[in-house]
């Protein structure tokens, strides 16, 4: 048993430190998701297939989370269907009360953490370092919060270090980057609607979660009580247990934030190439690959330190420069109507040549 000072800070307030940390990071994740969703919805009319693909990943994870909820509550799964526009998971037995509440909790919270959990699992094997806990000494609120932050910042710095020095000729590194991008495009609970009228945003998600939590306040009270009991027990057994549990959730949010952040350059590249004439807009994508390979070949014959980092820098700079030059000199015709002409039809089926 550790020497735990018995005061209000240690016994009550410190218990909320990691919870606050998780909530803060989760909000940050939600904010990043919202930015990504807005970027994707603006891209939709030009990159329909890309948006369908990202939708599919998001909906797939949502369906998996729902199925997981039904499995955990022993409701069973009667049907499982996932398409690019909808998911349908039906339980074998319709359960009520706490089981129904848990199932819906999986559906609402799962998409935020399940894909991130899978990435975190892979990153454990690829990065391997950075998964550290801080053992508390004073057991205060500030110390718990600092410990939580330190665990997350260590992992974040490892991620950044890995990404800066990533070797894109190493299949493992390329595979991990693809996983990050793939999951980064799908770590979100709601779907990008085809029409602009469909408003499913951050507030929609938050409202749903709020309604879900308010619906059964007793359950929340019980969960808080259980967590508090766990905190008190961990104080006397091993304080790292409690902080560790919430640190994992913090890592999940951090992984999700990094994965989403990595998708931004890709989305920006898509935005930029939309400004370039059709025959030329493939060039920035080719520049990404060719500039990196060229840099690696040159640095192979003229060895220097930080080869991977320099190659990445050369790749990013050359892609940026080439894209800017193309936007300046090969800009696409602005007078083209954005929606496809074939979609402009009257109700009687006759084709129209101008927008109504």
């Amino acid at each position: 048993m550790a020497n735990v000072p018995l005061n209000i800070d240690v016994l009550v307030i410190a218990a909320f430190a990691p919870i606050l940390g998780v909530i803060a990071f989760w909000f940050l994740q939600l904010f990043m998701i919202e930015i990504q969703k807005r970027m994707l919805s603006r891209l939709r009319h030009r990159h329909e297939a890309f948006c369908r693909f990202t939708n599919y990943i998001g909906i797939l994870f949502q369906a998996i989370c729902q199925a997981l909820g039904y499995t955990v509550t022993r409701s069973g799964i009667a049907s499982f269907k996932v398409t690019v526009s909808e998911e349908q998971v039906e339980p074998k037995k319709e359960k009520e009360g706490v089981f129904d509440w848990i199932s819906r909790s999986f559906l609402l919270f799962g998409p935020f953490f399940l894909p991130a959990g899978l990435v975190l699992l892979i990153s454990y094997f690829i990065i391997g370092k950075g998964f550290v806990y801080l053992t508390p000494v004073d057991y205060t609120f500030v110390e718990s919060l600092t410990g939580f932050w330190l665990s997350l910042s260590t992992l974040a710095s490892e991620y950044i270090n890995f990404l800066v020095n990533i070797d894109l000729l190493n299949p493992l590194h390329v595979g991990f980057l693809c996983v990050l991008l793939f999951f980064g495009l799908g770590i979100r609970p709601s779907y990008i609607g085809e029409g602009r009228k469909e408003k499913i945003d951050m507030f929609h998600d938050l409202r749903q979660i709020k309604d879900h939590l308010i619906e059964k306040p007793w359950y929340i009270a019980v969960i808080i009580l259980i967590l508090y009991m766990f905190y008190i027990l961990s104080l006397f057994i091993n304080p790292v247990l409690y902080i560790g549990l919430f640190t994992i959730f913090g890592w999940l949010s951090l992984t999700a934030i990094i994965a989403i952040f990595l998708t931004f350059p890709l989305l920006l590249l898509l935005y930029a190439t939309d400004e370039i004439r059709p025959r030329w807009h493939i060039i920035p994508f080719l520049t990404v690959i060719l500039s990196y390979v060229l840099a690696r070949v040159v640095l192979f014959y003229y060895p220097t330190q930080k080869v991977n980092g320099i190659s990445i820098l050369i790749m990013l700079l050359s892609t940026f420069l080439i894209t800017m030059i193309l936007i300046k000199y090969k800009k696409t015709n602005r007078f083209k109507p954005t929606p496809k002409m074939k979609h402009l039809r009257d109700s009687d089926g006759k084709k129209r040549t101008i927008k109504k």
Partner: protein, 374 residues
């Protein structure tokens, strides 16, 4: 070129070809070759395990070939198509032959990488050539399917012969908006079967006495399946094409009411034909002079109203005429009478009456059963 092939009054609605990603199964075979070639190159020359392969220049080739053939076996079993295995076997044997011929044994891993890229490019080109050989023409009367690189194949199906439409859209299809539509004809063209077979064997005992058991089983499921040149394979935009084909089929398939109308008309034509034959027969029989006049009049008034005809047949006048005819002619008259009755009673049953009749029949059948039981 296509317009020449059209029939009279035939109009072309759409000319389609498969989406570039619709042959992803074939393209995946090429992708696997290139990815595995790169992996072997990296593993044997640049990874931390490179020292394991440093001893013998044949190690990379053996590793590459074994995994390639294993993948070929797995893919062949999954796709139930042994061509994949033999294709990979050919790729492997060619690589070994080229390596021996050019004496590139010392750079085997680099050779594998470059060879994989070259083979994959050839593979991609062949797949693209195969894709481009497909052409689907949707007209207002039929769907024409064309395909094949060396052997040109063609299938034509009229909309009125389509019994069923099977449509499927995979994940890639959903993302990129393409899908496959299989029109199943009434003769069953477009239907295939998926066969699965499982077998196992057990051998027990010592060298002197052994026991051997074997068990196996198979399952066959009828499913819409066709070659890519006999179906609308990976057509884009899938939803529009599906809607178009369904509309065409719908417009060429008669409804239940139309079917009943056609049946009714057929019956009427049959009756009228029989009546005409009977009248001709009656004229040919040469009846007595006294009665020839009314019969001729009757022939001339063939298209008169039914009531008048009935009067002629059933009235006193007819009775008198009958008495004047030969017995064969009396038979003809009777047959005509029956036909007229049949014509009058023949009608299109409305759906409600049909249902009521069916119910009555069922009730009768049940009561019959009860009686039999009693």
């Amino acid at each position: 070129m296509v317009k020449k092939e059209l029939l009279k009054n035939e109009q072309m609605e759409r000319i389609l070809s498969p989406h570039p990603l619709s042959f992803m199964k074939l393209q995946t075979l090429c992708i696997f070759v290139i990815v595995w070639g790169f992996l072997v190159f990296w593993l044997t020359d640049f990874s931390e395990y490179a020292s394991m392969f440093a001893g013998n220049p044949w190690y990379p080739l053996i590793l590459w070939g074994l995994v390639l053939l294993l993948a070929g076996v797995i893919a062949s079993l999954v796709a139930i198509q042994w061509t994949i295995f033999f294709l990979y076997l050919f790729v492997f044997i060619s690589a070994v032959g080229l390596l021996f011929w050019q004496h590139w044994e010392n750079d085997s891993s680099l050779f594998i990488f470059i060879y994989s890229i070259a083979v994959s490019i050839v593979g991609f080109l062949l797949v693209e050539l195969y894709r481009r050989s497909h052409k689907y023409i949707i007209t207002n009367l039929r769907v024409i399917f064309k395909g094949g690189i060396f052997t040109k194949r063609e299938r034509t199906i009229r909309y009125d012969k389509i019994a069923d439409i099977d449509a499927k859209q995979g994940i890639l299809g959903q993302i990129f908006g393409f899908g496959t539509i299989i029109p199943v004809s009434q003769s069953g063209f477009g239907l295939g079967s998926d066969k699965t077979l499982a077998a196992g064997g057990v051998e027990m005992g010592t060298s002197k006495a052994r026991f051997f058991g074997f068990a196996g089983g198979g399952k066959e499921v009828q499913t819409p399946i066709a070659r890519s040149y006999y179906e609308l394979h990976g057509v884009y935009p899938y939803k529009d094409v599906k809607q178009l084909v369904e509309d065409m089929v719908q417009s060429h398939v008669p409804t239940q009411y139309q079917k009943e109308q056609i049946e009714f008309q057929k019956q009427q034509v049959d009756i009228q034909t029989q009546m005409r034959d009977l009248l001709h027969k009656q004229v040919r029989e040469k009846p007595r002079k006294a009665v020839r006049q009314p019969i001729e009049a009757e022939v001339e008034e063939e298209d008169a109203e039914e009531e008048e005809v009935e009067e002629k047949v059933t009235g006193k006048k007819t009775v008198m005429t009958e008495e004047a005819f030969l017995p064969e002619q009396v038979d003809i008259q009777q047959q005509m009478k029956e036909l007229l009755k049949k014509q009058k009673t023949a009608r299109v049953n409305p759906p409600e009456e049909e249902e009521a009749e069916e119910e009555e029949l069922e009730e009768e059948a049940e009561s019959g059963k009860e009686k039999l039981g009693a």
